[in-house]
Amino acid sequence: MVVRIKNLVKRYGDLLALDHLSFSVNDGEIFGLLGPNGSGKTTAINCLLSLLEYDKGEIEIFGQPMAPDAYHIKREIGIVMQNVAVYNELTVRENIDYFCGLYVPDKKSRKELVDEAIDFVGLADFADFYPQKLSGGLLRRLNIACGIAHKPKLIIMDEPTVAVDPQSRNKILEGILALNRQGATVIYTSHYMEEVERICTRILIIDKGKPIATGTKEELKAMITMEEKITVETQQLTPEQLARLRALPHILSAEYQNGLLVVKSGRGGHNLETVLSFIRKEKIQCGKIYSELPTLNDVFLEITGKHLRD
C-alpha cells in the first residue's frame, strides 16, 4: 500500500472540510479523487503532503507516518499543484532543472532527467521560452514536467487540467497513463468525471469532505439502480402517454421537456426494445434515438441528489 489515510478530520473554523475521510491507494494504481468544487479534494491533498495541519486522523505514505520533516518520503513524491507554480524569471528548462535539483543533486543525471521530462511533456520546442510566453496548456505541461522530472514513485496531481485546451488535456492524460505504465502510482483529483473515468483504475467520490463511494468505475456504476438512459427526439407526446410509459416495467423515470423524452431504466429488462415498442404502439412520430450507459455523474446524482458540477 502506497498511501493510507484514516479518519482524517480538518476544520476551518466552523466549516468541516474533511469529515472522517479514509481511503488507501495501492501500488501501481491511478487513484481518482472525484468531487465537485469545494468538496475537500485539495484540502485532502494538502493534508496528505503535510502542507496543512489537520485536526484528527492518520496519514501514512510508503508505510510510514507523513510529517512536514519526513524528507525521505517527500523525496519519492512528485507533486503537480492546482495552481501553476513556476518561476517567471527562469526558462522552461531552468524551471524543470530547479525543481528537479531539489531532489537530484547530481548535475549530470539531472540533465538527463530534465531532457527526458521536456520530451515527455512535449516542450522541446519551448525549452528556452520564459513562462509568460507559454499558452495556458503549455504552462500546465511545464507544471507537470516540474513535478515528475525526478521520476517519483508517487505522483500527486491536483486538478492538473483546469482551464486547459482539449489538445493539451489529451496530451496530459496520455502522459499520466504513460507515467503509470512506467511504474508510478498516481493520485489524481478532478471534478471532470470524463477524465477520471478515462484514466483512473480506482475512484473515490467525495462530497462535503465525506467519502460517498469508492471502487472501479464499473463497481461505482453497478452501485446505482439505473442501467441505461434512452433519449428520444419527439414533438408529440401527451401527458397520458408519458404516464403510461412510466408505468412500464423496469422504467425508473421518464421526463419530457423541450422536445426530448429522457427515459431512465433499471437493470434486468430489454430497456431499449421496451421503449421502441411503446413508441410504435402509441404511433408517436420521433426523430433520433440515443442510448447511453450511466456516467459517474449519474452515480453522484443518484447518491447525493445533485450533479457533480452543481
Binding site: 525521505h72 517527500k74 499543484m81 507554480a85 518561476y87 524569471e89 531539489l102 531532489y103 516540474c146
Partner: protein, 388 residues
C-alpha cells in the same frame, strides 16, 4: 545549492533594471570628475591679466618713462585724444578702466622731495583700478626711497634702480586652502552619492527576490520538496548576502576608479568601512520592504520614494549646510543622514586619531543600529505574512 543558484538566476534576469542605477551612478561620477577637474583648475591656476589704461602725460622725463614702463607690465595702454568728452566716453564704455594724467612739473617737484599728486579718473570701486593704484604707489614709493638714500641721483639712475628692484620676481605657488586636501573632498562626493545608488540597487534586487520567496504557490511547491525549510532559508540568506556584497564591491570599485588619487589617503579605508555599514543597513531596509511589498509593480515606486526622499533630506544631493535645521532633524531618523554625516566628517579630517574619528564610528554604529532595527521589523512582518 539549488535555491542559492535560483536566487542568482532571478537577480541576473533583473540585471537590466538594476543596471539603470549603476549607469546613473557612473554618469554622475563622470560629471563630478569633470566638474572637479574644472574647479581645481579654477582654484590652482593663475593668469596675469592687464587693465586698459589711458596714460596722458604733460612732460616726458626719464622718471615718467620709467613709470610708464613699469605700468606696461600690468596695463595695456590705449591711445586716446586728450579731450574731456572722449576720455569720459572711453571710461563709460569700459574701453579703459583707468585714466592717468601726469601733470606738468611733476618730475621736478618729485626730485625736490615735494608732495606730488597724479591725476586719475577710474571706474568706481573696480578691483583693476585698485590694482593699478598699488603699482603706481609701489613705483613712486620705491623711487622716493632711492631718492632719499642715494647721493644726488639723476632721474635715469633713479628709474634704473627702481626698474631693477621691481624686476626681481618671487615664485608664487597657490596652495589649496581649507582644512582637508581636495582629493578627500572629492571622495566625499562619490561616497555621499553612493547612498542613493547603493540603496536603490539593493532595494530593487532584494524586493524581486522577496516577491518570489513570498509567492504562495511557489512556497507550497518548495515545501513539498525534500529540502528542509532551514536549508532553504540558509541558501536564501546566503544569496542575499552575496548580492549585497557584490553590489557594494562593485560600487566601491567604481568609487575608487573615479577617485583613484585618493586611494592612498588614510581616509579611504574609513570611507569604505562607512559604506560597508551603509550596505548592511540597506540590506536590512530592503529586507523590510521586501517583506511588506506584495505587488511587483509597486517596487520601483517604493524604491524611488525611499531612496530619493532619504537622499534629498540627508545631504546626498544637496549639501547638508544648505538644508534647514528641521529637515536635518527629520533626516536624523534615516540611515543615509548618518552615512553622509560620517563621510562629511571624514572629508574634513587631516589627522586620523581615535578622537578625531569618533564621530565617524558613531555614524557607523547608528547605521548598524538601523540595520538591526530593520531586520527585526522585517522578521515581524514576515511572521505576520506567514500567519495570514
Amino acid at each position: 545549492m539549488p535555491v542559492f543558484k535560483l536566487c542568482l538566476k532571478i537577480l541576473r534576469k533583473n540585471v537590466p533594471s538594476l543596471a539603470i542605477y549603476i549607469f546613473v551612478f557612473i554618469g554622475v561620477a563622470v560629471i563630478m570628475t569633470f566638474s572637479s577637474v574644472n574647479e581645481q583648475a579654477g582654484t590652482l591656476a593663475f593668469t596675469r591679466s592687464k587693465t586698459n589704461i589711458a596714460f596722458l602725460t604733460e612732460e616726458n622725463t626719464p622718471l615718467v618713462a620709467g613709470l610708464k614702463a613699469e605700468l606696461a607690465k600690468v596695463a595695456n595702454f590705449v591711445e586716446l585724444p586728450d579731450e574731456k568728452e572722449a576720455l569720459q566716453d572711453a571710461l563709460y564704455f569700459r574701453n579703459v578702466s583707468y585714466i592717468l594724467r601726469v601733470p606738468k612739473g611733476f618730475t621736478e617737484k618729485f626730485m625736490q622731495g615735494e608732495q606730488v599728486r597724479l591725476e586719475k579718473t577710474t571706474v568706481p570701486d573696480s578691483y583693476s583700478s585698485a590694482y593699478l593704484d598699488l603699482s603706481i604707489d609701489q613705483y613712486l614709493n620705491l623711487a622716493r626711497l632711492y631718492l632719499l638714500h642715494l647721493e644726488n641721483p639723476t632721474q635715469e639712475a633713479l628709474a634704473k634702480h627702481v626698474a631693477d628692484a621691481l624686476a626681481a620676481e618671487a615664485e608664487v605657488k597657490l596652495l589649496p586652502g581649507g582644512a582637508a586636501p581636495d582629493m578627500q573632498l572629492s571622495a566625499n562626493l562619490y561616497f555621499n552619492y553612493l547612498a542613493y545608488s547603493l540603496l536603490s540597487v539593493i532595494i530593487l534586487g532584494m524586493s524581486v527576490l522577496m516577491l518570489s520567496y513570498h509567492n504562495k504557490d511557489l512556497q507550497r511547491r518548495n515545501a513539498c520538496s525534500p529540502l528542509s525549510a532551514a536549508s532553504f532559508n540558509r541558501q536564501f540568506g546566503l544569496a542575499i548576502l552575496t548580492f549585497t556584497g557584490l553590489v557594494w564591491l562593485l560600487f566601491i570599485i567604481l568609487c575608487l576608479l573615479f577617485n583613484s588619487k585618493n586611494i592612498q589617503s588614510p581616509s579611504t579605508v574609513f570611507f569604505i568601512l562607512n559604506s560597508l555599514a551603509f550596505a548592511v543597513c540597506s540590506a536590512g531596509l530592503s529586507f523590510l520592504i521586501g517583506n511588506l511589498v506584495t505587488n511587483a509593480k509597486a517596487i520601483p515606486a517604493i524604491c524611488n520614494v525611499v531612496t530619493l526622499g532619504q537622499s534629498f533630506i540627508s545631504g546626498v544631493f544637496v549639501p547638508a549646510e544648505l538644508l534647514g535645521d528641521t529637515v536635518l532633524k527629520i533626516a536624523g531618523f534615516t540611515p543615509a543622514y548618518w552615512f553622509v554625516a560620517a563621510n562629511n566628517h571624514l572629508a574634513g579630517l587631516q589627522q586620523f586619531t581615535r578622537a578625531t574619528l569618533q564621530p565617524v564610528f558613531n555614524g557607523m554604529l547608528m547605521q548598524i543600529g538601523f540595520a538591526l532595527a530593520f531586520f527585526a521589523l522585517a522578521l515581524v512582518a514576515a511572521k505576520k505574512r506567514r500567519l495570514e
